[in-house]
Amino acid sequence: MNSKKNKTKNRRDFIKKGVAGIAGLSVFPSISHASSSKTELLKAEENKIIYRTLGRTGYKVPVVSMGSSTNEFLIKAALKKGMKLIDTAYLYGNGLDETTIGRALTGMPRDSYVIASKVYGLRDNTTGMPLNNITPEAFQADFRDRVETSLKRLRIDYLDILYLHAADNPELIKMDMMKDVLIELKKEGKTKYIGVSTHTNSVVYAIADEGIYDVILMAYNFRDEETGETRKAIKYAAEAGCGIVGMKALGGVFWDEERKQRINQKAAAKWVIQDENVHTTILTINTFDQLEMYMSLMNNPELTPEDRDELRLGKNDTTIGMYCNQCEQCISQCPYGTDVPKLMRSYMYAYAYGKPAKAKETFHLLHSHKLLCENCRDGCKVTCPMGFDVRKKILDISRIWEVPDEFLA
């Protein structure tokens, strides 16, 4: 544990020391994107800025973008330093975020920034689908009201990107009532482009296939390296012309359940930037130091062996104590025949990959087993070769079902 602490401190020191210190560290050869046709390098103030084109929107945006913030000055500073895309949502802070961003943008030329917001709408927070007894008209009217409220808070006439917020079921984004209201809002000029925010690969494919969505905001981070499933989905959508914006680049902020060991922010951001199909990624920025750090990494965007070490890549331990190897010995041990491996996969999605929505989807298939585990109060019959407390993990993950929507959004 001690060595870990020292490492963190050193890392902080070298961030403080700035660009020169970082350059000195990258002595190992790695792929440079500077020469790529898709990527342009431009010089701005003290930092190099790497721009990519956000799919068919044509917006040229730096590869790092500003996540929602309630600090007006930090937002202004981000724009001044060359960031262009600011991401927020109707739900965030009950309007505090949009209102603050609106104040920060006041007086700035409308084409000097790209503003994206998200609306969730009247949906059931367990299934993510429109409320049971709601008519399309009522859903759409409410959705429009929220867009108008967002515009008012942001003090602008139109959004650059309007996302359907946290859509993790492919059926949702295929619904006519959903598509119609978004297309109409685009036609009316309330938003230049429309898109979907999601955490789920199957939704990314579905969005690309629908053809009407311009931008996808997708959870994507180094934890995908092992399977590459999200990388593949994103490539598919990018090739279909969708703009791809990454989010949740840190994959959970902390390594451990006790929230003590912080994930290296810089290395995690660099990992995402390596993927040219991700046009930009939105980052949570709480301090000016963090802003400087993310801007400066465009001077040296290569993922170094040290960065890979920080991200524990290629070590099979990105998910310490959370990784079920799907040996399936447990199925016969459970008196109720619970599909434990599937539930362990759901657990992994939530805890190790930071993909709660995906976890919920997986769990959905086996919902009834929540009650079965509750029957075995005196002890679980399953002896896992990995030593998992299977029952505890299943009861833990079963509660994702009732998580308030803002925790997943």
């Binding site: 009950n94 902020v253 359940e257 407390d389």
Partner: protein
């Protein structure tokens, strides 16, 4: 088994310990879910804590964790086919954090405050309130008589929650004049985007009489002198100022993002202002002392804390009692219409000769003051049609009175009649 990282056994051990300590449905919060007549509970309450679920969930969960979130219990209630509501009870570390998360989520521009907990408000479909370190959110779906039902439920919960209905004490030390009320915030970490400024109360101000108009005032609760010194040291380092001995008192920085930032290190706290650079004005703000707004009451005053009634109140937080509490930071305000009245029962008969009024911005243009011995026969002792607000020192012909009534006939603004204080004096010895 593949390569096992050396941390594996430690982490796993911790997981096992947690398995024994965090029982799923065992939370003290569960006891605060009320029985609601006509409603049935759907399932068991669900309980969450930072360890078991939020560790890898980004998004808004981080906001809660930032405010030292401890536990959340949720329960759904149903009535008949359609009506349902969800109650969420959050517990945070302390009063500051409870207030912090509540004020962070307080809907922007909310006006419909309700008399629940320390503060709460109702908007269509939701009622949120806080009390001490507890933050409670109730959402309603297709509820009949929604507002009153939600208020009743919230009151039941608030009554059971431990703690007092007090706002954090430091809020009282934010200067009163020109403050934008009900937008005060508590920022636990990274105030102003600086990792060295934490645990800070802040408020926005608007004074139309100064060139810049808007400015902000804050108080950082460093907790110790060493921490205050460290804050100033780190700030200087950030600004690349030369090292020097840092002492208590005033410090002024030229900040690249906030312009002039004036700081005052006072014991274990640091106060600050940005958005204004006039030194005299800044000093006045730092000199703010809440006690200056507490009136000195002596024997000549016969109205202090006496029984008082009014024709109407703008809302439950602007009660007539506040006009006789000797505190110039609290006030009474009537509904926004004419005429209105406020009446004090002095409790006994006094020979009075002086009345002092402290008007808020919403003052009366035309009003009169009447006195009575029996509350039936009234005698006018003062009248004006050119009221100009501010402070009014009214000397009157000495008269015996037990009751005093101020009749508002015509308002000066679109708002109500609003008084910080009414002082009634008896003839001196």
């Amino acid at each position: 088994m593949k390569t096992i990282h050396k941390l594996f056994p430690i982490s796993f051990f911790v997981l096992l310990i947690m398995a024994f300590h965090s029982s799923v449905n065992c939370s003290e919060l569960v006891q605060y879910f009320p029985e609601i007549p006509g409603f049935t509970r759907k399932d068991e309450p669900a309980v969450y804590n930072p360890d078991n679920l939020y560790n890898t969930i980004n998004g808004a969960a981080d906001v809660y964790l930032n405010f030292e979130f401890r536990e959340l219990a949720t329960l759904t209630y149903e009535k008949g086919e359609d009506q349902s509501l969800i109650i969420e009870i959050y517990s945070h570390k302390d009063l500051n954090c409870g207030f912090g998360i509540y004020s962070h989520e307080r809907v922007y521009g909310v006006s419909n405050y309700v008399d629940v907990g320390t503060q709460g408000y109702y908007e269509t479909g939701i009622l949120n309130f806080f009390k001490d370190g507890y933050y409670v959110k109730i959402r309603a779906y297709d509820l009949e008589n929604e507002e009153q039902t939600l208020i009743d439920i919230a009151k039941t919960i608030a009554a059971e929650l431990p703690g007092d209905n007090h706002f954090p004490e430091a809020l009282q030390d934010l200067p009163y004049m020109y403050r934008t009320f009900n937008r005060e915030q508590y920022i636990p970490k990274n105030f102003l985007g600086y990792s060295f400024i934490n645990k800070t109360f802040t408020a926005d101000y608007y004074n139309p009489n100064i060139p810049t108009g808007a400015y902000s005032f804050f108080i950082s609760l460093c907790g110790s002198k060493e921490e205050c010194k460290k804050l100033l040291f780190e700030y200087r380092k950030f600004l690349e100022l030369p090292e020097e001995e840092i002492v208590e008192g005033r410090h002024t920085f030229d900040d690249p993002y906030y312009g002039t930032v004036s700081l005052l290190w006072e014991g274990t706290r640091i106060k600050g202002i940005y958005g204004v650079s006039d030194e005299e004005y800044i000093s006045e703000q730092f000199a703010f002392d809440r006690n200056d707004y507490i009136l000195k009451i002596d024997e000549s005053n016969v109205s202090y804390q006496k029984s008082v009634t009014s024709s109407s109140d703008e809302n439950f937080r602007l009660k007539p009692e506040y006009a006789v509490d000797g505190d110039l930071t609290t006030r009474w305000s009537s509904a926004w219409s004419d005429p209105q009245w406020i009446r004090i029962d002095l409790g006994d008969e006094y020979n009075i000769n002086k009345i002092k009024l402290y008007w808020e911005g919403a003052y009366g243009r035309s009003y009169n003051i009447l006195v009575s011995l029996d509350s039936n026969a009234w005698k006018e002792v003062y009248a004006t049609i050119t009221g100009d607000g501010g402070e009014d020192d009214l000397s009157i012909e000495p008269v015996n009175a037990r009751y005093l009534k101020l009749n508002g006939l015509e308002r000066a603004t679109q708002y109500g009649y609003s008084l910080y204080e009414i002082l009634v004096f008896q003839t001196g010895n």
